[in-house]
């Protein structure tokens, strides 16, 4: 356990359904012109849990994440974040309230090094203004060094010391995903949204990524919502699962329960609608 891990209290262990609410989505609908991406979906995310969002392709999973972090604005419904109903907000406002995310198709700053990518995750934590930045010496420099230390801790945690100075565009896909996770962690988020963190990975990489996700959840107490297609991973990792199909919620509950649900089996096997 390193310093970054040590200064975060571990999450208390209790039943996921009983924990304090972090985010609640009520009757949210989202349409693009005539295309309904999400129809009347409600679910919640509780503090400290790992919440999986699953469903066949085109079910509206990524749209749901985009709604949560402010890329999309639902036409109907409300989002309650930490007990307050959220107004329409921009992604960087969502970020400043503690929502971090990774993307389905890795969205890193490709020309920048691993270190700079993860440092950029600390943008919101750095406060010295434009004019201090111009001077660079003094407070702005001290701030930079303090944050750099945090970032080094994250790099140690994710075991990516060897690629600190490598431009991320040159890294293999699996490592890029890991750097992207590092950038999100650098924000010290309340809620971490992971969009298919294991897509395109081999077995070994998937195991590594699973381990990191569990560590982040248990050691930092970070709440995680993840979209994943690998059912084995979903069943192993998550406390509760919500299943979407054609933009509607068809099941919600603990993994075993969801797995046994007839509606879910139908959705995945393709029963005619």
């Amino acid at each position: 356990m390193n310093a970054f891990v040590a200064d975060r209290a571990p999450a208390p262990v209790e039943d996921a359904g009983e924990r304090e609410l972090l985010l609640r989505v009520d009757n949210v609908s989202l349409a693009f012109g005539g295309v309904k991406a999400i129809t009347d979906i409600s679910f919640d995310i509780r503090k400290g849990e790992i919440r999986a969002i699953i469903g066949p392709n085109g079910a509206g999973k990524t749209s749901m994440l985009n709604v949560i972090n402010g890329f999309y604005h639902p036409q109907e419904g409300t989002i309650t974040w930490q007990g307050k109903v959220r107004r329409k907000m921009k992604p960087y406002e969502a970020a400043s309230q503690g929502i971090a995310r990774t993307f389905q198709n890795v969205a890193l700053f490709k020309g920048m090094t691993t270190l700079d990518n993860i440092m950029s995750g600390r943008s919101l934590k750095m406060h010295r203004n434009f004019f201090w930045q111009l001077l660079w010496r003094g407070p702005a420099e001290r701030e930079e060094i303090a944050h750099r230390r945090k970032v080094e801790d994250i790099i140690d945690f994710l075991e990516i010391q060897a690629i600190r100075k490598t431009p991320v565009g040159r890294l293999p896909y699996g490592l890029q995903k890991r750097v992207e996770l590092g950038r999100a962690l650098a924000m010290e988020p309340e809620l971490l949204l992971l969009d298919e963190p294991m897509a395109g990975m081999n077995l070994e990489e998937k195991e590594d990524m699973s381990r990191f996700i569990i560590d982040v959840n248990q050691e930092f107490g970070t709440t995680i919502a993840l979209i994943e297609h690998d059912m084995g991973v979903v069943m192993d990792l998550s406390d509760r699962v919500v299943v979407l199909d054609y933009g509607k919620k068809i099941a919600d509950g603990p993994p075993e329960e969801v797995q046994a649900s007839q509606a879910v089996i139908d959705a995945y096997l393709g029963v005619s609608h």
Partner: protein, 317 residues
């Protein structure tokens, strides 16, 4: 004919080294000024993918504001500070009124918007400061005038205008400062992040609006420096806007996203133009300077479409 093209110019360069050095110096100074203009384009293009058609007129507008304020009795240095303020307000206004409502629109729409901005600035500048060319307040700003002649051994002398030396020094300082700022600070990192991926930058909490305002302000400062230097060499008039389009071949050479590219591209065009004009121009009746840059750029396009320092286009398949 072949002798005139392939041999005679080089013989001349050898026979009259003083003249050749003078030509090189002229090319260097012109190149630095082109590089400064191109730098303004690069800053905005990097951060927002917008080709800022208005960069040229921003040069004129900054120069006009400075001279106009001075004409109305504002002391030179105060006028300079006020002009910097005006460029800041302009940057904020552009972000608020032009960029923000057009976010996520296709690039061609943003290009059209900057063309609109160009005509707005032309009209506004003429309305406030009048359309006649003005003298740059070189001396009042403490910039050197006059010239020094250097003897080169016993083979003649070259004459350096002091203002040109000042231009070169200021350009170097500006480019270094910008380079440090964008590589070493949080805002610089945020700018590079925005240049790479808008969505990802938003997701880590970088405000695009703030970055755009900063970038437009930086481009405004570069425009002001360019306006002062160009203005000191000729005068401050709307004709300068045309000169600004020399930045296009510079950008094609250097790549639209590279600050070093803008500098090297500017120098290549500057040297190429002057040497071409003075040694080969006579063969086609002169006036080579106005179009040679574009020919050089075209030839480059054939071999390196991404420019000298442009980001290599890597597509993972």
């Amino acid at each position: 004919m072949l002798y005139d093209i392939f041999i005679d110019p080089f013989v001349q360069m050898y026979d009259m080294p003083d003249f050749f050095l003078q030509v090189l110096w002229e090319g260097f100074v012109a190149g630095i000024l082109y590089a400064l203009i191109a730098l303004g384009f690069v800053l905005i293009f990097k951060a927002s993918g917008v080709f800022n058609f208005a960069q040229g007129i921003m040069v004129v507008f900054a120069g006009l504001t400075l001279v106009g304020l001075h004409e109305n009795g504002v002391p030179a240095y105060l006028a300079l500070i006020l002009t910097i303020g005006v460029m800041g307000v302009l940057a904020y206004g552009v972000e608020r009124v032009v960029m923000r409502p057009l976010v996520n629109q296709p690039e061609i729409i943003l290009l059209m918007a900057t063309i609109g901005l160009t005509y707005f600035l032309v009209g506004f500048g003429e309305f406030v400061f009048g359309g006649e060319p003005k003298q740059m307040i070189t001396q009042e700003l403490g910039l050197p005038t006059g010239s020094t002649a250097f003897e080169i051994g016993d083979r003649g002398l070259i004459i350096l205008q002091h203002i040109d030396i000042a231009a070169a020094v200021i350009a170097v300082i500006m480019v270094t400062a910008l380079g440090l700022f964008f590589n070493k600070t949080r805002i610089g990192r945020a700018l590079r992040a925005v240049a790479d991926d808008h969505q990802a930058a938003l997701s880590v909490g970088i405000s695009l609006n703030q970055i755009w305002a900063i970038v437009w302000f930086a481009a405004g400062l570069v425009a002001l420096a360019t306006g002062i230097m160009w203005g000191a060499r000729s005068d401050v008039s709307f004709a300068l806007e045309i000169v600004a389009f020399k930045a296009l071949p510079v950008l094609i050479l250097g790549g639209f996203t590279s600050i070093p590219g803008a500098i090297v591209g500017g120098l290549i065009i500057g040297f190429g133009e002057k040497i071409g004009e003075l040694y080969w121009g006579g063969l086609v009746g002169g006036g080579v300077e106005s179009w040679l840059a574009y020919i050089i750029a075209l030839v480059f396009l054939l071999f390196r479409p991404q420019g000298l320092f442009g980001e290599r286009i890597i597509e993972r398949i």
